[in-house]
């Protein structure tokens, strides 16, 4: 059985003139120990999926479709039941870890409190465990526990956030744009940490990123999104070696090692999506059909031409 | 910029008050000094009754707008002039003016304004001008701060640099380029100072530290309190000026609130 199953998820936000669709008819599944990467440009709705699964979206957001965790439908859970799931079952690593930590609370407390609230252990053990994890991440545990986030460097914060998540032993970790704005060295470090999550075979990783290379390094399967829709999905090796959708090809071509060729044009605004295939204005092979009808997802790709 | 509909109500209210202040004679059924029988209840003849001297309360209410608004706006304008000038100078020149601004900030903030006004009014005699001067001269610091930060922010921007390269004088650049940009940030500050001055005027009138010959809303409440308006249950004597003060201050502050979105600033007594 799949650990996490998202079926036909659509999310829309209230806007000044009607609702704005952010995510449309997304389905995905995540097996234990698997790493699934959702790739796409900023604003394609990939982070919305993560927040929808965690039920962190603000009030007023419309969420359609079902999300199952261990066969439990998350959409029907009460807020207090959801509270149990968050952190302990499904946890999330945010981008910019410096901002994810509370600036005026000591790090020690921020690591201990969740463990205690989830009744994993008492405060004393929680402290010992936290120190252990910090040490294993190569940090000076005693100093860090008594420090405030603003005293730490970005890299340290990253490890601390990772420690906070891993201390709860969740079964699903969602990493939301973890590499955004980081330099190569920190990306490498982060990849090591993330890959350690799936190594036990029990925990799955849902990696949300715009960075194809990170996805290539970590993912078992890759899911490419454009304007709130899945345009291509498949096993990582296959998809990277032989991308079918012109957008996926474009993304791969824009990587530095492939010659830095950008996709022409810009992503359209969610309020003004083009008719037909949403990618057609930027697509080199688009024709009349692409302009008129929306392609269906067939054999892991959403394209009239494939 | 699109006109925000929420501005309509407060602006309308302020417009009504302003018109009343400028042309009281048009709206007031009686002259401010005109007298009739004393302590009348509201009637068709006297909409809000008459006070202890037989003056028409409704007319006094209209005449009262003038001093209340003069004190409020004059303090506001004074604070604006001081604040903008110092802020521009500090942001533009850095150095000593800047040091001075940052150094005086805490001092000006801390000085307890109401007791200061009271001691000055006691020594110099009750006068609206003392009030205007003190409130105006002690409320500039927050204006100077926002102006300064705004100026620092834009002084390195391209078009200012371009203007400097073209050889425009500092003064010209300030007036032509920078003032229009800092204007939106000082407007809310201006109205907050104005509102605070209106509240202070009313408070001082209550202590008997306002000019007795000056009809103001604070003075009317004070009169109602002194000449047993409260005891006689003459709510139509003290409540309308109280409401006028509250609504006036509310209208003026809500302009600032709407402007600033986040309701962060508070009216400062």
């Amino acid at each position: 059985m799949n650990l996490l199953e998202v079926a036909d998820l659509s999310v829309s936000f209230p806007g000044p003139s009607g609702r704005i669709p952010a995510v449309r008819n997304i389905s995905l599944s995540l097996a234990p120990g698997e790493c699934l990467a959702i790739v796409g440009e900023s604003g394609c709705g990939k982070s919305v999926i993560a927040q929808a699964v965690m039920r962190l979206l603000p009030e007023g957001t419309e969420v359609l479709g079902d999300m199952y965790y261990h066969g439990q439908n998350l959409t029907h859970l009460s807020e207090s039941e959801m509270k149990q799931i968050r952190g302990e079952e499904i946890a999330m690593v945010f981008q910019s870890p410096e901002r994810a930590l509370n600036p005026v609370i000591k790090i020690g407390r921020q690591l201990i409190q969740p463990q205690v609230l989830h009744k994993l252990c008492n405060a004393k053990d929680a402290e010992l465990r936290a120190k252990g994890v910090l040490q294993s991440l190569g940090l000076d545990a005693d100093w860090v526990m008594n420090a405030y986030p603003w005293m730490c460097s970005g890299g340290m914060c990253q490890r601390i956030v990772f420690a906070a998540v891993s201390l709860l032993h969740p079964y699903v970790v969602i990493a939301d744009e973890p590499t955004k704005g980081l330099d190569a060295e920190r990306i490498g470090e982060l990849e090591t940490m993330l890959s350690s999550i799936t190594s036990s075979g029990k925990t799955s990783l849902l990696l949300i990123t715009h960075d194809m290379e990170v996805a290539a390094h970590l993912a078992d399967r890759i899911l490419v999104m454009y304007c709130g829709m899945i345009v291509e999905e498949g096993a990582a090796a296959l998809l990277l070696a032989a991308p079918k959708h012109p957008y996926t090809r474009g993304l791969l071509n824009s990587l530095p090692k492939n010659g830095f060729v950008p996709i022409p044009g810009m992503s359209p605004a969610l309020t003004a999506l083009p008719d037909g295939c949403v990618f057609h204005p930027r697509c080199p092979i688009a024709d009349e059909e692409c302009r008129k009808s929306i392609p269906q997802l067939r054999n892991g790709v959403r394209c009239h031409k494939c | 910029m699109k006109f925000d509909r929420r501005y309509i109500l407060p602006l309308l209210l302020i417009a009504v008050l302003l018109i009343a202040a400028v042309f009281p004679g048009v709206f007031a059924p009686y002259e401010a000094a005109e007298r009739d029988a004393t302590y009348q209840a509201p009637s068709a003849e006297h909409l809000l009754g008459t006070d202890n001297m037989g003056k028409d309360i409704f007319s006094l209410l209209i005449y009262g707008a003038r001093w209340t608004l003069i004190i409020g706006f004059s303090s506001g304008i004074l604070a604006i002039i001081m604040g903008t000038a110092i802020g521009l100078l500090a942001g533009w020149r850095k150095g000593i003016p800047d040091e001075f601004l940052m150094g005086t900030t805490d001092i000006v903030l801390i000085l307890p304004k109401i007791p200061l006004v009271i001691i000055l009014a006691a020594y110099l005699g009750p006068s609206p001008w003392v009030l205007i001067l003190v409130l105006g001269l002690l409320s500039w610091e927050s204006i100077a701060r926002v102006v300064r930060s705004k100026v620092i922010q834009i002084r390195s921007s391209n078009y200012i640099l371009a203007a400097r390269c073209l050889g425009f004088s500092d003064a010209k650049i300030m007036v032509r380029e920078i003032l229009p940009i800092v204007f939106p940030v000082i407007v809310p500050k201006f109205v907050l100072v104005t509102a605070a001055a209106m509240i202070s005027e009313a408070s001082l009138a209550f202590l008997g530290l306002s000019d007795p010959m000056m009809v103001s809303w604070g003075g009317m409440i004070s009169d109602a309190f002194t000449y047993s308006g409260f005891l006689r249950g003459m709510w139509y004597w003290w409540l309308p000026p109280a409401l006028c003060i509250i609504l006036g201050v509310l209208a003026i502050t809500s302009l600032a609130f709407i402007h600033e979105r986040g309701v962060r600033e508070v009216v400062q007594l």
């Binding site: - | 202890n52 309190f225 047993s228």
Partner: protein, 529 residues
């Protein structure tokens, strides 16, 4: 049971009547230690200082009474003194003490205490009357003989404000004005000050166990002071206090309507010694020195409206002789009349014409005629200003919100016309008959002292050294003619005092000088049946 109470009440009433006519006679009623009378007042005690705080001094007067007090007709009657005599030359005054008065701590009250009090006041208190410094005071048994260097016939007027205090307490206190104590203060009358608490704004008087006179009904008298007159009145109307009192003032006339609406209180109206007037600066002001101007102003004032608005109708238009009807030696002089046209004509005749036709008169040099009006009463001040403007005067309005600022302008003679009020006590002070308010050789805060005319001052001196009788009568008649003829001031109206009477209490005795807060009243009040 009912009858018993009834009888007791009749007894108390009888006693009260007896007491009114002969103070000091012995009755049979007993003090009810649990009974309390609560008096509301706007007079705030800011310090518990017997000599330092003016209001406290007024409120403690009933516990340490002076030798004499003022009765309901405005005449002097004995307090600590049972009787007194004055020698025909006015230089020797002999007082005999009433043996009912004893100090509440058990110490006997002796003539020695009186001597001490007079000397102590003369020495320690800056505002004490001048004659005290040169007086020789001797005692013999329970009589006190005051020998004066100069004859003083109106001595009682000063004595009513000099409290007789226990020597054994005060002799060790060197700076009485700075002495602060929350009590108890040893007293000599039917009550003594048990405590004063400025935090709870309460003064408590308790029955004096040593008092030898007729026992008062109420064991405790509480005085509660409030921020404003209104708060005091509403506390009274709300049942928190039984009656209202303010030093030197009757019930505020603006609130009398409320008394009439209440079923617990009735308003008793009595003609008052109080009055209000405008005075002219006849010493340094150019217009003030001009008799024609002063007379013209007399016609410019709307007397009826002043009574209506500034006294809320509780007053009577005055006459030019100034002294209220009801005061001994009253003389019926010409009544004040309001006539704008006459006023204008008289001003024209006096040389103050509106030459340039702008509606404002010019003085003899051709400059705008500006009259400085000094007032500390907002309402009356504004009315007078309006009247003066109506006859073409340019008014420089000097409003001072408090007495001290008013005094400053007055002392500097920086006014032409000033509005002022005369209190009941003030009417009797100095040479009496309101002279103290005019004569510039008197001391005191609330008086204008705006006349230095030697003729007037001589008249005052004569009055003060003339014993009662026909001589005095003719002098006072002359005084009233002076007021009417020379117009140093214009009487606006004579006040009518309103006193709220709690219908649940009987035996009210209203003194002309101090209202209901007087020794006689405290002894005579008792619950109504």
């Amino acid at each position: 049971m009912y009858e018993k109470k009834h009888l007791a009440a009749i007894g108390v009433i009888l006693f009260a009547i007896m007491l009114v006519f002969c103070s000091g006679c012995i009755g049979a009623a007993e003090t009810n230690q649990d009974a309390v009378v609560k008096i509301a007042t706007p007079n705030e005690i800011t310090e518990a200082s017997y000599f330092g705080n003016y209001n406290f001094a007024q409120m403690t007067r009933v516990t340490t009474p002076p030798l004499v007090q003022v009765d309901e007709n405005g005449d002097y009657t004995g307090a600590l003194a049972e009787s007194w005599t004055v020698s025909s030359d006015g230089k020797t005054w002999t007082f005999t003490l009433d043996s009912d008065y004893q100090w509440s701590d058990g110490t006997p009250l002796t003539a020695e205490d009186v001597t001490f009090s007079l000397e102590y006041t003369a020495e320690k208190i800056a505002t004490s009357p001048a004659w005290m410094k040169n007086a020789t005071i001797s005692t013999s048994g329970n009589t006190i003989i005051i020998s004066l260097a100069e004859p003083v016939y109106r001595l009682c007027g000063d004595l009513v404000t000099i409290n007789i205090i226990p020597k054994h307490i005060w002799q060790s206190i060197d700076t009485p004005e700075e002495y602060i104590s929350n009590g108890p203060y040893v007293g000599s009358s039917a009550y003594y000050v048990k405590s004063v608490d400025i935090n709870s704004a309460t003064l408590i008087l308790a029955a004096n166990p040593e008092w030898k006179g007729e026992a008062p009904y109420y064991g405790t008298i509480e005085i509660h002071w409030f921020a404003t007159e209104d708060a005091a009145i509403s506390a009274m109307l709300g049942g928190e206090c039984d009656t209202y009192w303010k030093y030197g003032a009757a019930f505020p006339t603006t609130s009398v309507a409320l008394l009439e609406a209440s079923d617990k209180f009735t308003a008793v109206q009595t003609p008052s010694l109080k009055m209000s007037y405008v005075g002219f600066n006849t010493i340094t002001s150019e217009v003030g020195r001009n008799l024609a101007f002063r007379k013209a102003v007399g016609y410019a004032l709307n007397y009826d409206e002043l009574v209506e608005i500034s006294a809320s109708g509780y007053g009577v238009s005055a006459n030019s002789g100034f002294i209220p009807n009801g005061v001994p030696y009253y003389k019926n002089t010409t009544a004040n009349t309001y006539n704008v046209e006459t006023a204008k004509t008289m001003l024209d005749a006096a040389g103050y014409k509106d030459v340039n036709g702008d509606g404002i008169r010019e003085d003899t040099h051709g400059d705008v005629l500006t009259v400085t009006l000094l007032t500390r009463d907002k309402v009356t001040g504004e009315l007078i200003k309006e009247y003066l403007e109506k006859v073409g005067l340019n008014v420089d309005y000097k409003f001072t919100s408090d007495i001290n600022a008013w005094v400053e302008v007055k002392e500097a003679h920086a006014y032409d016309i000033a509005y002022n009020t005369i209190t009941a006590k003030g009417m009797m002070m100095d040479s009496g008959w309101a002279t103290g308010y005019f004569a510039d050789n008197t001391v005191g805060t609330g008086k204008l002292q705006n006349v230095d005319d030697p003729a007037f001052l001589e008249l005052c001196a004569k009055i003060s050294t003339t014993p009662e009788g026909d001589n005095l009568k003719s002098l006072i008649s002359e005084l009233q003619d002076y007021y009417a003829g020379q117009v140093p001031g214009i009487a606006l109206y004579w006040c009518t005092d309103v006193t709220p009477i709690n219908t649940e209490i009987d035996g009210w005795y209203i003194s002309k000088a101090t209202g209901i807060y007087n020794e006689i009243n405290l002894l005579s009040i008792h619950p109504a049946d």
